[in-house]
Structures are given as C-alpha cells and as structure tokens.
Amino acid sequence: MAICTVYTPHALNTHLGFHQKQHHHFLFYTRKHNNNNSRRVVNNSEISCSADADKTVVIGLAADSGCGKSTFMRRLTSVFGGAAEPPKGGNPDSNTLISDMTTVICLDDYHSLDRTGRKEKGVTALDPRANDFDLMYQQVKAIKDGVAVDKPIYNHVTGLLDPPELIKPPKILVIEGLHPMFDSRVRDLLDFSIYLDISNEVKFAWKIQRDMAERGHSLESIKASIEARKPDFDAYIDPQKQYADAVIEVLPTQLIPDDNEGKVLRVRLIMKEGVKLFNPVYLFDEGSTISWIPCGRKLTCSYPGIKFSYAPDTYFGHEVSVLEMDGQFDRLDELIYVESHLSNISTKFYGEVTQQMLKHADFPGSNNGTGLFQTIIGLKIRDLYEQIVASRAAAPLEAAKA
C-alpha cells in the first residue's frame, strides 16, 4: 500500500491521499482556473509518491554452511509463520526459499564463474572475483524498490549457471551466502545483518559429522578441505564480521575440559549498540556485567549444566553487548526458566522462544545456544520489521499535519 501526497503550490493545503496497489500508476490532473484564460492547465503540483510502505526489508546473513537450507533460515522463516519452500514448478535445483512473508535468496546465484570457469581461473567460490557484485547490487536494489527480477540460478550439483527464475518482491528479503556484506553498496541496502562465526574446532567437528559417513571421505580429506579453504576464507569472508549488526560466535565449551566432540557448545551473541530499531538482548541490567548459572535450588540440570554471561565490550572498534551461553538444555523447564530471565527478547507472549524451539526440536542446535540465539535473532528481526512498517505508516500522517 503506497500513500501519495500531493503538495500544491497554493496555500490551499489540500492533502489528497489515496491507496495505491503496487505498480499501478495514476496520472493526476487538476483543473486550475486561471482568471485571465480558461485554458485547462495541469496543476503544477508536486506529486511525491512514496511507495515506502511497499519497500522490502532486506536482511543479510553471512554463513559458510550452504544456502537457504540452513537451520538458521528455517528458524527465521518459522518465526514469521509458514514453512519456507523452494519455488513450486521451477528449477528443482533452485536455492531459493519462499514463504508467505519472506524470500530467501542464495548469493551463490550471483557467481560470475561456474565450476569450470573457476577451475580455469584458479579461484575458489570464496574469492570475490568469482562473484558478480554489480548484478547482486542491481537486483537487491530492484527488489527493495518493489520490482520483480530475473535472478540467475547456480546449480550446486552440476556446477553450472542455470536459466534465471523470477523473484517477486516479498515483505522480507533475506540474502544468505558468503558475501552479503562484502560490497559496500549491497551493505547499505541491508536493514539488518548477521554473521555466523563458527570457530575452527567446531567447524571441524561439524564437518566430520556431516561427511564421515560418505564414501570417499576420510578424516584426512575433511581436514585438508578445511585447511585449503582457510586462506581465502580468512581473507575475504572473515572481515565481514566487523560490519555485522549481530554476530553469533560458536566456540567449543569451557565447561568440559578437553572436549573436542563439538557436542556441547559455547555460543556468544555479539550485538552492536546504537543500531537503529534494534535493542540488544540483556540479562538483569543493560550495560552491567553478569555471570549466571541458572542451575541450583530452583532448577536441577544434568552435566555439564548451563552457564550464562552478559557484558558490554568492544568489537572491531564498536560498542557491543555480548550475551553468552555455555552448555545445553536437557529439559523444557530449563528453557522456560532461562527465557523468563532474559530481557528485550521481543516476544509477543511469555514462552514464545520456548515454543519456537520446541516446534523445531529436531533441528540441530535445539538444545544449546545456537538454536536459542538464532530464535531470538529471528524474533528481533520480526520486531525490526514491525517497527519499520509502523514508522512508514506514520510518515504520511506527519505530512498531513504539516
């Protein structure tokens, strides 16, 4: 719904607003009777049509774990309601996910070089030379302005660039991939950005879980694969951390000495201070330093238990607040207990975080900080979206009063 305001040069101050569906344009003429001649003139009034209420909210997610099918995406789209599914009737190898409110596009689709091309040039997919940032910027901008685009498809199975698919502007667009914040123009289009930072030990443990059962893989091959990609990763992907509004850092636990299975995790949610419309989650009191072990008399936890901490900090020169969780949830009441003590989590009702976590109890990370913080970020994004929509709806009212 777009609200158009007509400003007339005369002091009539008539405000004509009308609701307009996306992409319909109305030409508006008024008859202005001149005293001297009765010639019909188009009123030289300025029609400023701000289709702001139609503008898509764009979220960026930097992750090294494949595209659009990751757990984070599924949790995020679930917070908004509905399951995200690949577009029906299109390319079965499409990386796009569409639900009622959100569309998730994979930035791998903007590869300028396909697998053979990259082999020839000797660049990995992590290298910016393998990606077309101009096209990425153009298309994300177009979608943000409410124009549908034909986005290319990168087929991960064949390694080729397939014919494009049509992407219609959704209410919320999520761009997920390796380089959402690499290009400064694309970065400026993002309303909120998240970086998923997995530490090397945890990455190794997860890749072992993922690949060990596959024929062809061995411990050495998995290790070699991670190490070979590391230089490019550190050079091109890692620096994007500093631009993110929220970083989810996943580290090995400190509760179990010498644990290298990666089952129990220590997860830190690093939230930038001063981001418009985003209020960091906190424990007990904002800006204070707290260390909290919820297990005790009211709550019995099994080994290794749960430990929380919250503190202000600096991260790449920015003021941040860091909420950290080490350990895992074993029971429902632990989750509810923890939720009741967190503040600024933007839930609409008591127990919403728990409910969301239970809804996806089979997803990986549902019993530790990864699932918890991903869910909370999902709720914060919903809150951000609603605030943006509310502020846009309020703008024309201000103009009317003027």
Binding site: V123, G159, D211, E214, G216, P231
Partner: protein, 133 residues
C-alpha cells in the same frame, strides 16, 4: 478419468509403508491409489528410513556420491605437488561444494514422502484422496 482395478497395480497402494492397510496411530485406514505412471516412477525401495524414493532422487544420490569420491581423489593428487597452489585450493573447494550438496540432499530426503509436497497442494487428485471409514 481412468478406472483400474487395484489388483492390476504392480505396487503397493498405501502411502507410507509397503505393509498394506495397517491402521496408523494418527489416522484411520488410508488408501491412496497411484496412477500407473506415478507408480512406475516411485520404486518402493527401503532407503532412508523406509521412505520410497523416486528414481531421479536415487540417481542424484548416486551421482553425488561418485562425484565426491572422484573429486577427493583429484584433490589429493593435485595437492601432492604443491599444497599452497591455487589448483589445490580450488580442488578442495569443489569437494566442499559437492559434500554440501550431498548433505542438503540427505536432509531433504530424510522425512520426505515424495507424494507429500504434491498432495499438500492438490488434495483432490487421484493420488491424494484420503478415504476414512
């Protein structure tokens, strides 16, 4: 609309398990009649937790497995010479890409009844009618 006797169908006619017509705990007896062309595509193979897989999915699985093996061998060869060369990095990057594709396929196949997504959109078609007695 073609009509055909159930006895003529070469494949089992229940939606979930080849064991016919055992009442499942959640719903009463369900009978799904597959059209011959769809039935021909879905081989009732017990893979991935007893879920029937389309030939296309099996083919894809096989293709990806072969690709992983091939690419790992390639990468080990290429990197034997020089571990820091570009070719080495690109080779392992390809291994990673294909491994990820395989992991995605496995995740998608986990609890997927191939008919499920089709039927959620078109419950009135022959394949998707549910009869409850």
């Amino acid at each position: 609309m073609a009509s055909f006797a159930i006895s003529n169908l070469p494949f089992s006619t229940t939606r979930r398990h080849p064991k016919t017509l055992t009442p499942s705990p959640s719903r009463s007896i369900q009978l799904r009649i597959s059209r011959p062309c769809v039935a021909a595509k879905a081989m009732a193979m017990r893979g991935g937790g007893g879920v029937a897989k389309f030939k296309g999915t099996q083919r894809r699985e096989r293709l990806l497995t072969e690709m992983i093996e091939k690419k790992v061998l390639e990468a080990t060869e290429v990197c034997e010479g020089n571990k820091d060369s570009d070719e080495c990095k690109v080779a392992w990057d390809e291994v990673e890409e294909v491994s990820q594709a395989m992991a995605d396929l496995r995740r998608r196949m986990e609890n997927q009844d191939p008919l499920e997504s089709f039927c959620s959109e078109n419950p009135e078609t022959d394949e998707c009618r549910i009869y409850e007695d």
